[in-house]
Amino acid sequence: MSTMTMNGEFGAKKPIDRSITTSKPVAEAVAEPVKETKMENAAAVAVGTPIGEKLGALGRAVLPPVLGLLILLGIWYVATHKGGSIPGPAQTWDAAVALFSDPFYRNGPNDQGIGWNVLSSLQRVGIGFGFAALVGIPLGFILGRSAFLAAMVNPIISLLRPVSPLAWLPIGLLVFKKADPAATYTIFICSIWPMIMNTAQGVQRVPQDYLNVARVLALSEWKVVTKILFPAVLPYMLTGIRLSIGTAWLVIVAAEMLTGGVGIGFWVWDEWNNLKVEHIIIAIFVIGIVGLILEQALILLAKKLTKESS
């Protein structure tokens, strides 16, 4: 049954897409949406849109976000222009130009360029996250395949999942005796839950039809995993990965504030101790932008992979 609905989606995708793209630029299409032929005409018009309209469409896409950012800057400016402890946009901009003109300097272990700080944070996230994927995805497969194991492990997961990853940090420090692996371990803990749960859910939702095909063909377990389960679960796995990288990036900043060393979180705390508030604001932007890039890169990857596999 589920393949039927899937086909329905595939079939329905095209006409829906077309009606969205065509009804926007051509007003007449909206006025008379009942006739199918009218829609076809609208499609023809959309293909041959003049440059002016294309620019208009571009403007409509770009204008709102730009306007939003300008308003944010405006509020920031108004809030800070009378002076006070928080620097304004111009001051922050100057500090940023100075900071980014030399992002990779090293003056000892506690004074390094912002580039190094971001990179070492990313490295921790990468390692913690990688281990989480190595453990979490196979575990998710096992839990998805075995109802007994799932019933056994699910209560434990439900208990541990709401715990802030930072609560695990002291345990990490105790076990590893060093700050750096402890921070990585925190990332591992917070990344693993979405990966286990999404993978397990994906395995449980593999359409029965595909499994029936596997049974009629009497495929080996290896073939079932590689040819049916893995491709069917891939979209769910990618969702798990995306959710966990988001959390990981949130958690690393807090973890590094506590552990010190090199990293964007530690840098924020260090600049607070130096009372360089403009640097803290810059750090907020940098963290935001890196998080955005990570998320978008994974969405892009997911699109590419699922397009190939669907």
């Binding site: 049954m1 039809d209 029936n212 049974r215």
Partner: protein
């Protein structure tokens, strides 16, 4: 072979939340090798349940099913199934979907070139050589169903089981595929069990039509022999008295003797 498939006193009971549900009872049927059997009945009469039992996808609660004298214990490629909704794997091309089946059945005995040739032959049999490297979502519903049939035939099954294979298709495509299926069966001498709710389809294709009573606790009501010479042409049959009689007999069974479902629904 006179007793190719034997279904003996088979019953199927499901445990549901509301208690036991008897889907099938006392099914007795023997199928000859090379025979084309249609299972027909109102929806909910357990035709698909019976097909799943022959496929081995479910096990009977009573009785026994035999293929060539051996008990059917589970699903297997010697009883290939063409599913109602084609069930092609969307991440494999048509060729790869068939190859997966071919490799499973013949992979231990034959080399890759031979396996590929088998796959190619199967896809040519259903006239889809041009679409071999397309993905299922790139082809029409009728083409998908043809790939499903090619996949099942490529395994050279002893019995081909079809669960309303053309139910989701439009009338013209359905007619075309029925003609193709008749030709393929002629060529391969396949033994086929097909679930259908289309009277014309049943009469056109089958050697015997197994008519089932309404569920719950459905069983075989009547079995009709369709003594029409092959190859059959749908246009000439339309005026053939024997064809018209068969059609009338099935209609009579469905809408007079087993009509109460319709009344309940109304």
């Amino acid at each position: 072979m006179e007793k190719f498939v034997q279904i003996e006193r088979v019953g199927q009971t499901f445990d549901t939340k509301k208690g036991k549900f008897v889907a099938l009872r006392e099914i007795d049927l023997t199928i000859k090798q090379g025979e084309f059997i249609a299972l027909i009945g109102h929806s909910g009469c357990g035709k698909s349940t019976l097909l799943n039992l022959i496929a081995g996808l479910t096990k009977p609660t009573d009785g026994v099913l035999l293929l060539e004298g051996r008990e059917i214990n589970g699903p297997g490629p010697e009883r290939a199934v063409v599913f109602q909704n084609h069930s092609l794997l969307p991440w494999l091309t048509c060729f790869e979907n068939i190859y997966l089946a071919v490799e499973r059945v013949f992979g231990s005995k034959e080399g890759k070139p031979k396996l590929k040739a088998r796959t190619q032959a199967a896809i040519e049999l259903v006239g889809l050589a041009h679409a071999a490297h397309k993905y299922p979502h790139e082809i029409s519903g009728g083409m998908k169903q043809r790939v499903g049939i090619a996949r099942a035939l490529s395994m050279e099954p002893k019995v081909l089981l079809m669960d309303e294979p053309f139910g989701a298709l439009d009338a013209l495509t359905r007619a075309k595929l029925q003609d193709e299926l008749m030709k393929i069966c002629e060529k391969t001498k396949a033994t086929v069990v097909m679930v259908t709710h289309d009277v014309d389809e049943a009469v056109l294709l089958s050697d015997r039509i197994v008519m089932m009573t309404n569920g719950p606790a459905a069983t075989i009501g009547e079995i009709l022999d369709v003594n029409l010479p092959r190859p059959r042409q749908r246009l000439t049959l339309a005026h053939d008295p024997a064809y018209i009689n068969c059609r009338a007999a099935v209609l009579e069974f469905l809408y007079e003797k087993q009509a109460h479902v319709e009344k309940e629904a109304a």
